[in-house]
Amino acid sequence: MIAGPPILEVQNLSVALPISGRMVPVVTDLSLSIAPGEAVALVGESGCGKSMTARAIIGLPPPGAAVSGSIRLDGRELTTLAPRERRRVGGRGIGFIFQEPMTSLHPTLSIGQQMTDSLRYNLGLSARAARDRARELLARVGLPKERDLLNAYVHELSGGMRQRVMIAIAVSCDPKLIIADEPTTALDVTIQAQVLDLLIAMRAESGLAMLYISHDLEVVAEFCDRAIVMYAGDQMEAGTPVACLKTPHHPYTRGLVDAIPHAGETRARLSPIPGQVPALGFWPGGCRFQPRCPRQDQRCATRPDLAGVAHAEVRCWHPLVGDAS
């Protein structure tokens, strides 16, 4: 990990979406920073706002969304840029890997066309130079040279291969930051391992910083330096993934960890979190987790600030301290 100013600095990011005629908050006041070469995970269940955070960072929220807050890439403020400039800066500075490569890559343009488009527009390469570089990139992500993949189409490739192509496109312009939105969720387990290994290797090679979005703490525990646990648009806990798993400080994190069957599980029953995630637009005031929290009291009617607990940051009035018991 290289020391230095953060590659990505997000402050007080809030996103609201128009749903049924009113603006509904989906991300509230989120702040995070990623140092060069660091891998940070955004972890949470569906509806927690993790994907929306990623979309807001690259400047592509859904139509009609309201985004506020500051987003700095390598010191440069993105939110005040004109859309065209923002697109350009984002295209070269941030590589994005989507969850489902089958639908995230163009179905009727060849792989080569999609890869070279980015290289030609962002780096100004000639058509021939772009194709050469595309071939290099495909080799770098471990795709076999025997097949002429540049002329192949998305539907001709397997899931693992498609995801590798996605990764190749993401790193094609030598970005400093990669944002990966659940890149392995749709893949088989053994292929998932391959793709994760690839991401780790590429990170080591080029010192890339990574924002990795997942619903699975155990997956990110393998390689992320820090994890931010989100619930209902809010950041609940931030710390190392291993610490989150072994000594969670926020009751929600604890609830998540207890709900997963672990390797060598000895419990006869899992411990689910009672209740359900509140629907968008129906979030409680104060601490969002309050209705489901076993440790809640009247104090929780006010939203807690982020406070340091041990080596983590926790947004809770009654954090769990010490060993998880």
Partner: protein, 318 residues
């Protein structure tokens, strides 16, 4: 007689017996020579990745799909020899839960209608009794009485799975086949549904055939596990030995890649081959780190390596 060491239940009778089951769709060999048995009240898990044939196997067991060859013996009867009417009557004892909570419930029917339907099909009780039973089932799966007049779209994914479970229980089956029932659910909801399945199983003495790709869930829930790859069972045994000491290279790779376990080796190379062009010999040899020449010529047969634990691998001959 099946008494798995370290298992939760002692099983006394075989409920389902599958032997030599195969299914080919034209050139695609989805399932090849699959054999296993499930005892009453037992949870049997089948794990595998895409193309392993696990979902097809589930459908074959319920005879939603006709096998190309093979024997399925349920409650002592060979299902292939039954008349249409007799087969229909047997179906009340085996029910299914699917992966997609949004697609598996008819959006135009109320919850009451959905749960009553199987009872009507199998002529169970009269109208009043069925209504009463709906209330009872809703209570068992943890849904309020008021739910019966609502429609599926008013419920969340986890709640819909509960409705699907209630519907599956309506005919008092002895076997429930669950094809990835929790894969589409969030972690905390998943835990609720898994606990529910365990409770119901204990209360009703149900056998459960649980299909999944998630090794953590299977380890938690199942007594015995079969690992499938490209249509074949490559290893089968009690949960504890499979997870603690897997004998097949594929099982080892699978466990190694699973999240939550420290990775021991490099990831398995290559893609899962297409089921259309299966490698000759052992199906796994194209990706197996331990493959040698015999693997290319001869498909390995199952060998017992421990009580109730069998492996299809040439290297297991020790």
């Amino acid at each position: 007689m099946l008494a798995p060491p370290g298992g939760r239940r002692i099983v006394t009778a075989t409920l389902l017996e599958v032997a030599g089951l195969s299914k080919s769709f034209h050139l695609v060999h989805a399932v090849r020579d699959v054999s296993f048995a499930i005892g009453r009240g037992e949870t049997f898990g089948i794990v595998g990745e895409s193309g392993s044939g696990k979902s097809t196997t589930a459908r074959l067991v319920l005879r939603l799909v006709e096998p190309t060859t093979g024997l399925i013996r349920f409650r002592g009867q060979d299902l292939a020899t039954l008349s249409k009417g007799a087969l229909r009557r047997e179906r009340r004892h085996m029910q299914m839960i699917f992966q997609d909570p949004y697609g598996s419930l008819n959006g135009r029917m109320t919850i009451e209608q959905l749960i009553t339907e199987p009872m009507e099909v199998h002529d169970i009780g009269d109208a009043a009794e069925r209504r009463r039973r709906v209330g009872q089932l809703l209570g068992e799966v943890g849904l309020p009485e008021a739910a019966r007049h609502r429609f599926p779209h008013e419920f969340s994914g986890g709640q819909r799975q509960r409705i699907a479970i209630a519907r599956a229980l309506a005919t008092e089956p002895q076997l429930i086949v669950a094809d990835e029932p929790v894969s589409a659910l969030d972690v905390s909801v998943q835990a609720q549904v898994l606990n529910l399945l365990l409770d119901l199983q204990q209360r009703h003495g149900l056998a459960l055939l649980f299909i999944s790709h998630d090794l953590r869930v299977v380890e938690f829930l199942c007594d015995r596990i079969a690992v499938m790859y490209l249509g074949n069972i490559v290893e089968e045994g009690p949960k504890t030995t499979i997870y603690a000491a897997p004998r097949h290279p594929y099982t080892r790779a699978l466990l190694d890649s699973a999240p939550g376990r420290a990775r021991k080796g490099a990831a398995l190379k290559g893609d899962i081959p297409s089921a259309r062009n299966l490698p000759v010999g052992c199906v796994f040899r194209s990706r197996c780190p331990l493959a040698f020449d015999r693997c290319a010529h001869e498909a390995p047969k199952h060998r017992m390596v421990a009580p109730l634990h069998r492996v299809a691998c040439h290297l297991a001959e020790e």
